[in-house]
């Protein structure tokens, strides 16, 4: 048995985590960055060799795990997962670099982060339903300990608990779903499979699909988060330390959206019973776009504002997925990447502002532009990308998801487009409020230093690049390995 590139992508951070955990701080950070960069290099290597227009999983690895139960260790990537795998490795690198050495028990922190990254990579690459589930649960464990041990605020333990309980509730139901899929799939006894490439062709009867879709969708909805299952997010994001948020907010939510795309839609092509789930979910997505934006408008705490803006933006992704056409779904994958580039940048900027001023309250932070001209310049670009300025990356994803939604039902696109008008309201209030005032900020504060600028630079470059040539990403999205997905 040989280990393929995809196994390396998740095993490398996991093994790295085991080593980093026991290293002294300096060495631990070097090692962690090294491991993350190596995993990123492998992920990019896979993307470079990836073949478009090929309708199977690529770089597949298969060997028997529990053959009696038809459970296999199956990994593979297609046009939907490839960029998310790269994004995960990329954000992990940024997170490693963003972790200050002054963090208490920094080596443990980095180790847990690497472990979480390994779990997320596994979720994105697993092509066996049981393996998917195992990775899905596995990524929770480091996330829980990160929030519990390294959380900020008054009661990080409570936020950690809420997060774990909420997501566990969803994923335990998903376990029922996994079993149900095994029991009810439309094959002769003894020929059951958990192969995600095969499962779409052996879908159970619509009534069963209705139920199974519901349990899977609930797990994904909580993780994404989809309105109204988002209430763990503000607490968890408020408690999470900033380097953790780079991957926690930037990547983990995408695993939920990815689940909709990889599991819920292709495995249950006709989830109709009392109602059609394929109409319920996009309505909730639009609800999330608008509700998240309104809640962001109501926030005084900058970090909470960004958290709610993230909820709003995830709505576009789910809406695109449930447009059930190629523009919508490719737009959704694009938007996952875009959101993964923008949200970490926003959280980093808010954290640096808090560093300098000691506050995240919008009423006590103002007039920073004359004191921090470089931050002001970078923040301008990031805020504009976040509010979907045409020309920058987020616009492309929003345009494509809404175009897809319009093709499915114009009403969905129109309601979603109202979100486009609300976004600049809160984003400009945040940006202008912090940066401008009649007088400069009262005390002398330092601008961001070169290291911090270097950290943001790749994110900002991507904001421009993905806005100007999104075709580079969509070119690989033509390779879709499951029937039932648009290509």
């Amino acid at each position: 048995m040989t280990i393929g590139a995809l196994s390396v992508i998740w095993l490398l951070p996991l093994i790295g985590a085991l080593i980093v955990a026991f290293l002294p701080p300096h060495l631990g950070k070097y090692m962690a960055v090294l491991v993350a960069v190596a995993a990123l290099a492998v992920a990019v290597y896979v993307a470079v060799l990836f073949a478009p227009d090929y309708h199977r999983f690529q770089f597949t690895e298969t060997f028997a795990w529990i053959p009696q139960l038809h459970v296999f260790y199956r990994l593979g990537v297609d046009g939907i997962s490839i960029w998310l795998v790269v994004l995960n490795a990329f954000l992990t690198t940024i997170a490693m670099l963003a972790t200050p050495l002054s963090t208490r028990n920094v080596s443990r922190f980095l180790a847990l982060m690497l472990a979480m990254s390994a779990g997320m990579a596994g979720v994105l690459m697993a092509t066996d339903l049981v393996l998917f589930y195992v990775f899905w649960e596995a990524m929770l464990i480091p996330a829980y300990f990160l929030l519990w041990l390294f959380g900020e605020g008054e009661r990080p333990g409570r936020a950690a608990l809420k997060f774990v309980l909420y997501t566990l509730a969803g994923s335990l139901l998903m376990l029922v779903g996994v079993i149900g899929e095994y029991v009810f799939q439309n094959v002769l006894p003894g020929q059951q499979t958990f192969d995600l490439a095969q499962l779409p062709s052996v879908a159970p009867s619509p009534g069963i699909q209705f139920g199974l879709f519901a349990v899977f969708a609930l797990a994904f909805a909580i993780k994404t988060p989809l309105f109204p299952f988002h209430s763990w997010v503000p607490d968890a994001y408020a408690a999470a330390p900033t380097p953790m948020l780079v991957t926690f907010a930037g990547m983990m939510g995408k695993t939920g959206a990815y689940g909709f795309l990889r599991i819920a839609i292709p495995l249950f092509p006709d989830p109709t019973g009392l109602w059609d789930w394929r109409w319920v979910i996009p309505v909730l997505a639009v609800g999330g776009i608008l509700w998240g934006a309104l809640m962001a408008i109501a926030q005084r705490d900058m970090k909470m504002l960004v958290a709610y803006s993230s909820i709003s933006h995830m709505g576009f992704i789910v809406l695109g997925i449930f447009a059930l056409n190629v523009q919508g779904q490719q737009g959704a994958v694009l938007q996952m990447v875009n959101h993964g580039v923008i949200v970490p940048a926003l959280f980093l900027i808010v954290a640096w502002i808090q560093d300098r001023t000691g506050s995240r309250d919008r009423s006590s932070v103002f007039g920073l532009a004359p004191r921090m001209p470089i931050l002001a310049g970078v923040f301008t670009v990031v805020a504009l990308a976040a509010l979907g300025l045409p020309g920058l990356n987020s616009f492309v994803g929003e345009f494509m998801t809404l175009l897809g939604a319009w093709e499915r039902a114009p009403a969905l696109a129109i309601a979603g487009a109202i979100g486009l008008v609300l976004t600049p309201v809160y984003m400009l209030r945040l940006f202008q409020g912090a940066m401008y005032a009649e007088k400069p900020y009262a005390s002398e504060v330092d601008d961001i230093h070169a290291g911090q600028l270097t950290l943001l630079a790749p994110l900002v470059v991507l904001m421009f690049a993905l806005g100007l040539a999104p075709g580079v990403l969509t070119a690989l999205m033509t390779s879709v390995a499951q029937q039932g997905l648009a290509r």
């Binding site: 009696q68 139960l69 038809h70 829980y144 608990l161 809420k162 774990v164 309980l165 909420y166 566990l168 335990l172 376990l175 996994v178 079993i179 095994y182 029991v183 059951q192 209430s231 763990w232 309104l294 809640m295 408008i297 109501a298 926030q299 190629v326 523009q327 532009a369 001209p373 504009l384 300025l389 045409p390 020309g391 616009f395 492309v396 345009f399 494509m400 809404l402 175009l403 319009w406 093709e407 696109a413 129109i414 487009a417 109202i418 486009l420 008008v421 600049p424 309201v425 400009l428 209030r429 202008q432 940066m435 401008y436 005032a437 009649e438 100007l468 040539a469 999104p470 075709g471 969509t474």
Partner: protein
């Protein structure tokens, strides 16, 4: 070669902006002074080259995105319309940026460089808007223009009013952007393409790719819907009713910015859009009619407000709204070339007026209240003369450029002669008279009579040469510019119409014999009112309620505030307090507490919660495994 040149039109201002943004604030001031205007003038020269070589092409550069049947290149469309617009933007824009070198001189180094960065971004955005060969990059340019205006309106960010005005302009513009995005969706769903060439050829019939019967495309509800959605964008960008409220607030920006927004760029974008989309508006008759009505009503609406304004820049702002209304009126009735001729004329005289006003504001130490001026005629003669030329052109006095362009619009409306065009002609006629009056009021109040007792400066200084020369050039253009197109009066050349009607539709009706007479009479009456304004000054005490109504700009700001802004904030605040925290989060926390209580009664929670869940998880996994094995065994 031409392909590269077309890209260079955009490239120069982009490069200028990037250099100034990155290093400008660390470089000596002279570098900024050279790079800022040079970027625009280089663009002008390239445009001129393409113009003289009669280039007409659609250059494709790279595939922006391909997603299923949705494939879109980045392409630039060079035709007579885009070249015409580029000449106006870079020519008048270049004069304005040059003027700014003097006007902004008292800003400190970083702000100075920042200003020219924004100006170059503005020019770049506007050029992208007019050169884009497809709807997506039209929207990109469209939004970047909105962004540039946001930057420039909020340039003096120490002023809270400027920051708020900038945000207002941005959000209003985003409403327009969203309208355009939805309009593009409608077109894509109907015609499966978003490049102009494919959409328009699908519309025109012979090359119809999708529709079985060409007449299906024409005059269908779909095309009306698309035309109305695009109109939302045009209305927002051109500050027409009802999305106009950002424009007067935009006076918070430095005066050259106002000149740029009002003359060369931005507000003319809506006119360009309707002209560019003429294949759509030619078949979407209701939307086309709406363009004319919106234009006419806005022209009158803004002119009435201008009567009572006391801030010189605000008078000019409302006059811009009003004049753009004329252009909408023209393109709305199908007299496209007349609309674009007025666009050109307006670019000359409005840039002139703003920059001459800027000279005055500079001399008056930033005082903008006309009631505190007075008597400048003898003290600032060059500026006064140029300002007067601008005023006469705005009023439409013979033979200034405004006379020829406005006469052509009104003449076209008069000649077409159906009920709609006669109505808008009537409104246009009335507006022309009011224009004469408020322009006269502005002129006499500011420049004539004795100096006001409250005037901040006793002996004002005339502007330096770098500011005076661009103003003088525009003054010359405002005097002689009209003679390039006099055929509406029966004889002479029609250079603008001949050039543009290779792209836009020709009016399909004959010039009626009464039109010229009516036009000359209109402009004569307007001139009379201009002169009469000297005597009629304290008119407003007569009807105090009307005065109040106009001073509050018909209460649009108050209405929007009550209808949208405050409800939105209230819903957000109440929603957060009562729904988000109590219901959405409350349900989860409640469920958790109920579970905890149950668990507590089962005595399983001795040492923390997490163990419980691990237990539940493991138990669940075991049960699941058992089930699986039973099933697999059977």
């Amino acid at each position: 070669m031409n392909q590269t040149l077309a890209l260079l039109i955009l490239g120069f201002p982009a490069a200028g902006a990037i250099i100034l943004a990155g290093r400008g604030w660390r470089m000596p001031r002279i570098v900024t002074q050279i790079i800022g205007p040079l970027a625009v003038w280089s663009s002008f020269i390239v445009t001129l080259n393409l113009f003289l070589n009669h280039v007409n092409d659609d250059f494709t550069y790279w595939t922006w995105i391909k997603s299923g049947s949705f494939e879109l290149p980045f392409d630039l469309l060079i035709d007579n319309l885009s070249i015409f617009m580029c000449l106006v933007i870079t020519g008048v824009g270049g004069l304005i940026v040059t003027y700014s070198v003097g006007y902004m001189a008292h800003e400190d180094g970083p702000s100075y460089a920042r200003f020219f960065t924004y100006m170059d971004v503005f020019i770049f955005s506007m050029l992208l808007l007019v050169l884009a060969g497809n709807f997506v990059f039209l929207i990109v340019g469209w939004a970047l223009v909105g962004l540039s205006s946001y930057f420039l309106i909020g340039f003096w960010y120490q002023r809270r009013s400027a920051v708020l005005a900038a945000r207002k302009a941005f959000v209003m513009n985003v409403i327009g952007d969203v309208g355009m995005i939805l309009g593009a969706f409608v077109l894509f769903v109907s015609y499966h393409a978003l490049t102009y060439s494919s959409v328009f050829s699908a519309l025109k019939g012979p090359l119809c790719l999708v529709c079985v019967n060409p007449s299906q495309a024409a005059d269908s509800p779909t095309i009306e819907l698309a035309a109305f959605l695009l109109l939302v964008g045009a209305v927002a960008k051109s500050a027409q009713l009802p999305l106009h409220t950002w424009l007067p607030d935009a006076m918070e920006g430095p005066t050259p910015v106002s000149a740029l927004i009002h003359a060369a760029t931005m507000v003319t974008a809506g006119v360009y859009l309707v002209g560019r989309m003429h294949p759509i508006y030619d078949v979407a008759v209701y939307a086309h009619g709406a363009v004319a009505i919106i234009g006419a009503v806005t022209a009158l609406f803004a002119a009435t407000i201008a009567i009572v304004q006391t801030d010189i820049k605000r008078v000019l702002a409302y006059s811009t709204m009003s004049q753009i209304g004329y252009m909408f009126l023209a393109v709305g009735i199908g007299a496209y070339a007349a609309g674009f001729f007025h666009l050109l004329a307006h670019a000359f005289f409005k840039a002139l007026l703003f920059m001459a006003a800027g000279n005055v504001i500079h001399a008056m130490h930033d005082e903008q209240d006309m009631r505190k001026y007075g008597g400048l005629w003898s003290q600032m003669r060059p500026t006064s003369v140029t300002f007067l030329i601008g005023c006469l052109s705005l009023v439409g006095v013979i033979p200034f450029v405004g006379f020829f362009s406005k006469e052509q619009i009104l003449g076209a409306a008069f000649s077409k002669g159906d009920p709609l065009t006669l109505t808008v002609w009537g409104i246009g006629f009335l507006t022309a008279l009011i224009t004469g009056f408020y322009t006269g009021r502005m002129w006499w109040l500011s420049f004539w009579g004795k100096p006001s007792a409250q005037r901040p400066v006793e002996h004002p200084h005339e502007a330096p040469a770098v500011m005076m020369i661009p103003v003088a050039i525009l003054a010359v253009l405002a005097v002689v510019g009209g003679f390039i197109q006099t055929r509406a009066l029966g004889t002479g050349p029609a250079l603008v119409s001949d050039f543009l009607e290779k792209v836009v539709t020709k009016p399909n009706w004959e010039e009626s014999s009464g039109a010229v007479g009516a036009g000359i009479a209109t402009m004569a009456l307007a001139t009379a009112l201009f002169l009469a304004a000297y005597r009629l000054r304290p008119w407003s005490a007569v009807v105090p309620w009307a005065q109040r109504l106009l001073e509050h700009k018909y209460y649009f700001d108050e209405m929007y505030d009550a209808a949208f802004v405050r409800p939105m904030d209230a819903i957000a605040a109440i929603g957060y307090r009562d729904v988000e925290e109590l219901v959405i989060d409350g349900a989860v926390v409640g469920a958790g507490e109920a579970a905890e209580a149950t668990a507590g009664s089962l005595r399983l929670t001795q040492s923390g919660y997490f163990r419980n869940y691990v237990l539940v998880f493991v138990a669940g996994a075991i049960i699941a495994a058992v089930l699986l094995i039973v099933r697999a065994a059977s």
